[in-house]
Symmetry: C2
Subunit: 108 residues, 2 copies
DNA sequence: TTTAGCACTTACAAAAAAGTATGTACTATA
DNA sequence: TATAGTACATACTTTTTTGTAAGTGCTAAA
């Protein structure tokens, strides 16, 4: 944390801080049920570039929301999965999904 | 929507689209219980500038998540409140709040 | 009469996020 | 031998987001 910057005491604020951005929630949503490989995620998250994907994966790993498992194989095999902390986000995803679906239905 | 751009069929994706950014969730969080005036929001959302505040309020209004009520008084009085659609986000906020609090507790 | 407060608006600049294009090391398959 | 696929890395540019600073029109209080 930058000196002079106060750490947020508000849980919502601190949650938003690690989840905001265009891709993170979508990546986590892809991983909600099962671990996936880099290329699977690339195909699963429509529109994301490789650069953004690793960048976001790295940040999520640093925040201990996902775990990176390298199988040290050739050709390379790496698997990403939710950590315990990441799995605890399920209620958030569920609520978001429900809300999103309702809005889509309303507008049709 | 821009021509050629596919509307997301994923509820999570469409929800993220209208809620992402540094301030929106925080603004909505301020409004979760009671309507508030512009100046109250400015004081409540720590760190936000006036420019960002109206900008985000306008977008949220356009997305019909909040409602703007102008009392046509002098000095000006305007009140912002959640719409039905906005109130339905409560489960999202609750889940986010819980998760954020858990993470804060863990790290202490 | 100056100040403060209300709810903004605007021009401009800085910072952050995201995208493009290319390259790496390795292997298997055509 | 060329191509494709794995999982990235890096330089560079563009786009988007956010911030800074100032100003508007109005009123009430000091």
């Amino acid at each position: 944390m930058v000196r002079g910057e106060k750490d947020s005491d508000c849980p919502v604020e601190s949650a938003v801080k690690v989840l905001s951005g265009k891709w993170k929630i979508l990546i986590l949503w892809e991983l909600r049920e099962t671990p996936k490989r880099f290329a699977e995620l690339r195909r699963g998250v429509t529109g994301i570039t490789e650069k953004m994907l690793i960048q976001q994966l790295k940040e999520l790993e640093k925040d201990r929301i996902i775990h990176r498992k390298d199988f040290h194989e050739m050709p390379p095999k790496v698997e990403y999965s939710l950590t315990e902390r990441g799995r605890k986000l399920k209620p958030v995803f569920d609520a978001l999904w429900k809300w999103g679906r309702e809005q889509i239905q309303e507008s049709s």
